[in-house]
């Protein structure tokens, strides 16, 4: 339980750092971006919206920085992330529409990629030195391709040339979002290509890590022993894999951040209406309240996912429950 306590503390500190960075950046950057921003949107949005934006940055710029910091924290607690300049809606409202899409997309692809990659890696490690090893350079190549580039190629080949998958958007434009069967099918069909491209980009890391661990574990005495005892091969592989998978799971919490970063861009390529697409539009329009709101939401979600991964690890590795050290 100490471990969970420590992790919780770490994530709490991380969340605080992210929130503070979010506050400090616009205040410390050269050129006074907040003033410029408010000057620029004067007349485009209502005075109430300007006030909300001003408050979400910490209120009056003439006040001391610390006062502004506390105003900012208070606004955050009340869920005021400011108002998007381009969409003239509160940032929280906009995020509520796009977060579910991203959560679904990234959640499904991370789980798929982890499972497939780990199984392949275990088999590669078991049959080390065989012809299957030639898969490794290929996997490395896929790992080195930026997510968005692979997505672009997939879009070109399978979406626009072969017309195998529907592309652009998250569901058929003729349907209305709702809990209907046809909508669910359409949403799944539209998610196929993005999911496949995220899985392809992220799978190599799991595969290579698992293979290397497996090679180390297979050399241990207990594996030799279980073969000598005449256990079926399947059982031996399972036993070895169960031990080899622990570092992968320990790394899961680290990798989530990287997968999320990559997946955000995949959304852009496929025009998927998630947070990534929103973020990039916000960047191109210099919609600072929206950019900052999205950064916070992504960071907090990733931290929650990290905590979940840590809990899984704790359940699987009995050593963490007895050892006092980390």
């Amino acid at each position: 339980m100490r471990l969970i306590g420590r992790r919780l503390a770490l994530y709490a500190v991380t969340a605080w750092v992210a929130i503070s960075v979010n506050f400090l950046l616009p205040h410390l950057m050269p050129g006074n971006p907040i003033q410029t921003l408010i000057g620029k949107i004067q007349g485009q949005v209502t005075p109430q919206e300007i006030e909300a934006i001003r408050l979400s940055f910490g209120g009056g710029l003439d006040k001391p920085l610390l006062t502004q910091y506390f105003t900012y924290l208070g606004q955050l607690l009340h869920g005021n992330l400011g108002v998007s300049i381009t969409l003239s809606q509160p940032v929280t409202t906009i995020l509520k529409q796009s977060v579910p899409w991203t959560l679904g997309l990234i959640g499904i692809s991370t789980v798929l990629s982890f499972i497939i990659g780990t199984v392949c890696g275990a088999l590669l490690g078991w049959t080390r030195g065989s012809r299957l090893d030639s898969l490794i350079p290929t996997a490395t190549f896929f790992q080195a391709i930026p997510y968005f580039f692979l997505a672009t190629v997939m879009l070109l080949v399978f979406g626009s040339d072969l017309h195998l998958f529907p592309v652009l958007g998250a569901y058929s434009p003729s349907l209305h979002p709702g809990w209907t069967w046809s909508f669910a099918v359409s949403a799944l069909r539209y998610a196929e290509l993005p999911v496949v491209s995220i899985v392809l980009s992220s799978i190599a890391g799991w595969m290579l890590g698992m293979r290397n661990m497996m090679i180390t574990v297979v050399a241990e005495d207990f594996v030799l022993m279980s073969v000598a005892m005449g256990l079926p091969k399947r059982k031996v592989i399972m036993a070895a894999a169960r031990n080899a998978v622990l570092p992968s799971i320990a790394n899961l919490s680290l990798a989530i951040g990287l997968v999320v970063s990559g997946a955000l861009l995949v959304e852009l390529v496929f025009n998927y209406p998630g947070v990534g697409d929103l973020l990039l539009n916000a960047v191109q329009n210099e919609d600072y309240p929206l950019i900052q709101g999205i950064f916070l939401v992504i960071t907090l979600t990733v931290l929650a996912a990290n905590l979940l991964a840590d809990l899984v690890y704790l359940g699987l590795d009995p050593r963490t429950r007895t050892e006092t050290a980390t």
């Binding site: 500190v13 030195g129 190629v153 180390t216 852009l268 900052q292």
Partner: protein, 322 residues
């Protein structure tokens, strides 16, 4: 003659060739380019031909020249970011691991916080607040990327330093009264060389990805040609959907090749520090030559013995890169 201890597997040699090729391109690329990358005097959207090897953009710019010129900015930013980040992770990792105590607690907390914050969104937020003239400055961008890329290396280096801290040679230099920073950077650091090298390769890989991504979403100045900007223009002109593959494939393949080269070199380092992986990577022909059984046998992953002075590594499973 002393034989080199670096594994000479085909993987490593291939990696060296690829990385070497692109380093040459960084130096000579802009000189080799047949046209100026900004020259818009050609017909738009030409498919690849003898005159325009990679075709032209919708503005009539030569894509081959853009690719050659773009190599420099891309790789220079990656080098700046990679070197700075590795220096940072070395200083933080060795200090945390060697000094211990509160220093360790503080530094470890710092690197764990940086690891937990997703890098790309942070980069985007910082970068979107940069004044426009700094966005075209490769040095500034490189430094910002290094800020988000050092934490993983620091963690690995710290763990390895802790296992070195109580070795006899370190004790000995402490007893003869060497200063602390001397022990840290002249006794401990050289023994971390393989890990440092691997961490450098890893951060280089990360930095290229990060820089190209920033450029791709239009957060670096479009006046500096790099592979990410090329992809940015291709995407903005809907090249993927209109089938203009020659526009975005060259920069993408270059990025992937550099990445593969770096990763292959990293395999070499992994095999260097973990002798078990070395034997596992051999083909059956090489195994026979070394007098090993032709097929891998259970419980007997042979350790190819060379005089390895570094201690056994921790599991270096690296998270996937963007």
């Amino acid at each position: 003659m002393k034989k080199s201890r670096f594994p000479r597997s085909p993987k490593v040699i291939l990696g060296l060739c690829i990385v070497g090729f692109f380093l040459l391109l960084t130096i000579f690329g802009p000189l080799l380019a047949p046209f100026s990358p900004d020259n818009t005097s050609f017909a738009p959207l030409l498919t690849p031909s003898a005159h325009h090897w990679f075709g032209t953009t919708s503005l009539g710019q030569d894509i081959f020249s853009q690719t050659l010129v773009g190599a420099r900015a891309t790789i220079v930013v990656a080098l700046v970011a990679g070197l700075v980040a590795t220096m940072l992770s070395m200083v933080v990792g060795i200090s945390a691991g060697y000094i211990g105590g509160y220093t360790d607690d503080g530094l470890s907390l710092m690197s764990n916080v940086f690891l937990a914050i997703p890098g790309l969104p942070l980069l985007i937020v910082i970068d979107s607040y940069l004044p426009v003239n700094s966005r075209s400055n490769t040095l500034v961008i490189g430094l910002i990327i290094s800020l988000t890329g050092w934490a993983w290396g620091a963690r690995v280096i710290r763990a390895q330093t802790m296992s070195l801290r109580n070795r006899d040679f370190v004790e000995a230099s402490r007893i003869i009264g060497e200063k602390r920073h001397r022990v840290m950077f002249f006794e401990v650091a050289p023994n971390l060389l393989p890990i440092l090298a691997s961490s450098l390769l890893f951060t280089l890989l990360y930095s290229i990805g990060a820089y190209v991504t920033l450029a791709y979403i239009g957060l670096t100045s479009t006046s500096v040609w790099n592979w990410g900007t090329m992809l940015f223009w291709a995407q903005n002109n809907n090249a993927p959907l209109s089938g203009e593959w020659y526009w975005f494939v060259p920069p993408g393949v270059c990025i992937a090749l550099v990445g593969t080269g770096l990763a292959l070199l990293n395999f070499g380092i992994d095999e260097f520090i973990n002798p078990r992986l070395r034997a596992a990577g051999l083909s059956s022909k090489q195994r026979r030559k070394l007098g090993l059984p032709r097929r891998q046998r259970l419980g007997l992953t042979p350790v190819l013995r060379t005089k390895v002075t570094t201690p056994a590594p921790l599991a270096t499973t690296k998270p996937v890169t963007t």
